[in-house]
Amino acid sequence: MIDVDPSLVNWSRAMFAFTAMYHWIFVPLTLGLSFLCAFFETIYLKTGDEQWKTITRFWMTLFGINFAIGVATGIILEFEFGTNWSNYSWMVGDIFGAPLAIEGLFAFFMEASFFAVMFFGWDKVSKRFHCFSTWMVAIGSNLSAVWILVANGWMQNPVGMAFNPEQARFEMESFAEVVFNPVAISKMTHTSSSGFVMASAFVLTISCWYLIKRRHVEMAKRSIVVASVFGLVASMFVGFTGDEAAYEVAQKQPMKLAAMEGLYIGERGAGLVGMGIINDAKAPGDVQDAFLYEVKIPGMLSLLANREFGSFVPGIDDLVWGNEKENIMGVNTMMEKGRHALSDLAAFKEAKRAGQEDAAAAALERFNVNQKYMGYGYLDTPEEAVPPVAIVFNSFHIMAILGSLFPVIFGAFLFFTVKGNITEKRWLLPVGLFTALLALLAQQAGWVTAEVGRQPWAIQGLMPVKIATTNLSTTSVQITFAMFAVVFAMLLFAEISIMLKQISIGPEGH
């Protein structure tokens, strides 16, 4: 039995989730809007048409507002690592140090040095150099995200490292393995491209508002064309990268995939749930139905998970208690191995303290045998390895359903705008008005799937969140949570107010 106050763990998780979700309101807009500004300005550079310059400056102003309000909200996550997740942050410091340092030194400075030219340099540097600077800001912003996603990918699939039992740290053995971790790559491509969709939806929404109000019609139509092309390409790419991300989840985090699909009993030729109402009362191992209602596409889950129609996809019950026929080791077995590993780690520590080098070496040898299961040694029951299925299933399906709508929406706007009759399509404009909100919902649902889906792990299979947490008082975490709620609400109010004011003023007020 691990003696950690569950409410402390939950409050620490809630605070981190709250901060990360707030941070992620701004990040995808920065990732995509920076590229859209670069596209607008490139068209201006090529055509010399002043209207494109006006368009560029307008969206650049909104990009600047979003950047200013969002900047440094990620720093709070780093504060939380040091205070609320000190065990975790000590143990992964060596792994995360390199990607985060690279982010700071390379991407951030690249971004920051061209930022001034982008905003202050109009008519002061050449058009070509200004456009180059805008592209550099876009590339720099996106490179910043790469390194954070590499760090996140490592937590989902820890590779390229070795555990140092004397230092209690995971130490990097191969930088290339960490950077080219397949989970990190699929996460990076999926997340960045979804940011492009978010920003395209944002441009579409504001442009539709102008069209409904019959203001700045020419600017709105031109903006819709560029945003729809970018959004259409990006949303199709998101589908492709989403498929790759799901494949990686199936291979590296099968429990997460089972929760995403509400699959309790594994099967060959497993179907993909297109939509369904999950039975929240269902628990692993019981005889209740997993769904109250479901629509399945036969064989598709097997194809998605293993690239083979008839292949076996393990369910939650298979993963918890094992499935000998399919050669799947259960969590119950891994718990035994994990407990041996932790016991041997403790013996190693004691032997070292007593100066008994031979005993320490023997304990270390035993520890190495079961080291990869060490995280399971902290679990109290096998069922503890199951994430909250209903949350994961619902968030995944919200993301997937919305994701499949975006190519249709962008395609329709592109078609009617190019055809020249978008302003007559009064039924379509309100759809555009809500597209940004839907994109934001899809973004947040995607992260909920990724992060709730990997519970109970802070580091997959190696460290559960309850061991990663600092043993603080729950009350102090609750107080800081409340403070963040107030500060974040104020900042969000400021952003929305300034943004709305600027949108209301229009392109003349940049």
């Binding site: 200013a68 040091g82 205070t83 000590w90 143990m91 202050f120 740290r169 800081t480 900042l491």
Partner: protein, 75 residues
């Protein structure tokens, strides 16, 4: 074109002085950073291990203690 320090200084000076919405944004950024570093970080988010232990060896021992203690007790 030669880039002198004065030209760079003037570039930033003109840029900052001609800002409109940017002035409000900078105020928000400064207030935000002040709240983060002078209040939150200082009073509410000390680095637990740096604050409570002096050397890396002590920190490593503490973490090792944390991750093995209860399981070792049970065995």
């Amino acid at each position: 074109m030669r880039i002198s320090p004065k030209k760079v200084f003037d570039f930033y000076k003109d840029g900052f002085s001609s800002m409109t919405v940017g002035k409000t944004l900078w105020k928000i950024i400064f207030i935000k950073l002040l709240v983060m570093f002078a209040v939150l970080k200082l009073f509410f988010f000390p680095n637990y291990l740096k604050h409570n232990f002096e050397t890396d060896e002590q920190r490593a021992n503490h973490v090792l203690e944390q991750i093995t203690r209860q399981v070792a007790d049970n065995n």
